[in-house]
Point group: C2
Chain length 281, copies 2
C-alpha cells in the first residue's frame, strides 16, 4: 500500500516549464498552453510559463548578456564569454532567471507557431541565450551525456500547412527532417529526453469543431505525458571519442539493417520512418 | 567584339546584399564578410551590408511591425496582419528598408556563425520579419514560383564542429539534413536560386594559417560566384496543385532510382548525397 501512495506523490511533485511564444492571448497556441497549464496543474504539477512576447524577451545574443567586463572585447566570442560569465555568476538577470526555472523543471514544453520551418526568432533567442555552455552542455557532456539529461523536453507547435504537405512526397518534405536539427541539435544536444512532438496541423484552416478536437486530443495526451517514452537517439558511447564517428563496431552491427540509425545519422540508408515523430522508431 | 564588352557590363551591374550577424568586427565572420565586400566590389558589384547587431535589428515579430491599427488585435495573426500591412504600405520602417535593399539585390549572402544548428536569433528575426507574405511569397507563388525567383541567395557560415562530425556517420549527423529546413524552407520557399553554401569548418579550432587559407578559398570562390549553378530543388509543376503531393507521374518516373529526389522529398529512399551542399546533386 505504501508503494501505491508513493507513486502518485512523485508524479505530483513534478515541475513543468512552458516556454511560450505567441503574441496573442486569443490564439490557438495560447489555448494549447492554457490546456497544458490546467491539465498538468490538476495532476499536481507545478507549472511555470515563460511568456516570451509578454516578457519582451531579448532575442539577440550580445555582450550585454554579460555583467562586467568581457574577456576579449575585440574578438568577442559569445559562447566562450558566456561560459565564463556563467561560471562567475555574471550572466544577465533575465538569462539567470530562465536558467533557474529550467534547473528546477522536470519537463520543458516549447509551445509556438512554426515560423519558417523552425521556432520564431524570440524563441530562438531563448535557446541561444539560456542554454549556456557550462550550464546546459560542455564539449565532454553533450548528447546522451548532456547536462540536462535528467529532464524531459518537447516541442508543441502549430503549422500553417496540412500534415500531408510535410511528408516524404509532399511539397514541404518530411517533417522528420525539419525536426531533426531542433530535436537533435538543440534538445538532445543538451541531454534532454525528447518526448514526441505535439503537432497541431494547420489549425487556422480547420473548423471550430476540428480545433476543439485538436485541443481535446492534447488534453488527453497531457494526462499521461510525464510517463511517455522519449524519442530514440544514439548514445554517446556509440561514437569514437576522438573522431566523433560511429564506432566500427556499431556500424558493422547496423550494416544489414534496412534503415539508418536516425534521421541525421542515416549511414546512407533510407531514414527510419517517423524517427523524430514517434517513440521507438 | 560588342558582345564581349556587354557581358562584363552586365556582371558589373549586379547588386549584392550581405545580411551579416556577428557581434565583433574582429571575428572570422567579419573577415569573411569583408572579403565578400572587397572581391565583389572589385568586380563592379554594388554591395550593401545589413550588419544586424550594429543596427540593433529587432528580432521579435510583434504588432509593432505594423503602423496603425491591426485588423484583429485579439486574435493577432502575424503573417496575415503583415501581409495586409505590406499591401497598404504600413510595415515598420526597418522592415521596409530591408525589403527595399532586398528588392534591388541580385544576390543575397547570409553570413553568420551557426548557432544551435541554425542561424542566430537576430538573423531568424530578419527572416521572420522581412520575408513578408505578399512580398516574398504567396500561397500560389512559392518554391520555384516564389516571388524572389529572379534572385540568388546563399548561406555562408562558420561551425564550431569539424566537417567529419557533420556526416551521416558523425555525431552531429549529415549537414545536408541540417541545411534542408533553411535552404528549402526559407530560401527556396521564396523562390531564391540557392547557391551551394560556403561552410567554414571550425575556424576557431584552426591555426592562423588554416584560417587564412579558408578566407583565400572564399575569395577565390567569390570571383566566379555570380556565375555558379544553384542547388537542385523540385519544380512546383511536379506537385499536384490540390494535394501538394508529387504527381503520380513524377513518382513513377523516379521509382527505379537509387536515391530520393531531395533531402526532404526523399520518397523513402536514401538521401541524394550532398544534395544541399553541391550543385547538380
Amino acid at each position: 500500500m505504501e508503494i501505491i501512495t508513493v507513486v502518485p506523490f512523485l508524479t505530483m511533485a513534478k515541475k513543468v516549464l512552458i516556454v511560450f511564444a505567441h503574441q496573442s492571448s486569443g490564439s490557438f497556441n495560447a489555448a494549447a498552453k492554457s490546456a497544458a497549464v490546467e491539465v498538468l496543474a490538476a495532476q499536481g504539477c507545478t507549472v511555470e510559463v515563460s511568456d516570451l512576447y509578454a516578457m519582451n524577451f531579448k532575442a539577440a545574443a550580445t555582450a550585454e548578456d554579460i555583467k562586467g567586463d568581457v574577456k576579449d572585447a575585440e574578438h568577442f566570442r559569445y559562447q566562450e564569454e558566456t561560459r565564463l560569465a556563467w561560471e562567475e555568476g555574471r550572466l544577465a538577470e533575465d538569462i539567470t532567471a530562465e536558467q533557474t526555472k529550467l534547473s528546477e523543471a522536470d519537463l520543458v514544453i516549447f509551445q509556438f507557431p512554426m515560423y519558417w520551418f523552425s521556432v520564431p526568432a524570440i524563441m530562438k533567442g531563448w535557446i541561444d541565450r539560456v542554454l549556456t555552455c557550462g550550464f546546459a552542455f560542455t564539449k565532454e557532456k553533450r548528447y546522451s551525456q548532456g547536462l540536462l539529461k535528467e529532464k524531459k523536453a518537447m516541442l508543441s507547435f502549430t503549422t500553417g500547412s496540412l500534415e500531408s504537405m510535410f511528408s516524404s512526397t509532399g511539397m514541404n518534405g518530411d517533417m522528420n527532417v525539419t525536426l531533426w536539427p531542433i530535436q537533435n541539435g538543440i534538445l538532445h544536444y543538451c541531454g534532454f529526453q525528447v518526448l514526441p512532438p505535439q503537432v497541431f496541423w494547420a489549425p487556422s484552416c480547420a473548423s471550430p469543431e476540428a480545433r476543439t478536437a485538436m485541443l481535446e486530443g492534447w488534453r488527453s495526451r497531457l494526462q499521461g505525458l510525464l510517463e511517455e517514452k522519449p524519442l530514440s537517439f544514439i548514445s554517446l558511447d556509440c561514437f569514437d571519442p576522438k573522431s566523433f564517428q560511429l564506432t566500427p563496431d556499431v556500424q558493422e552491427k547496423h550494416a544489414s539493417q534496412e534503415f539508418g540509425l536516425t534521421v541525421g545519422i542515416h549511414l546512407g540508408k533510407p531514414l527510419p520512418p517517423q524517427n523524430q515523430m514517434k517513440a521507438g522508431c
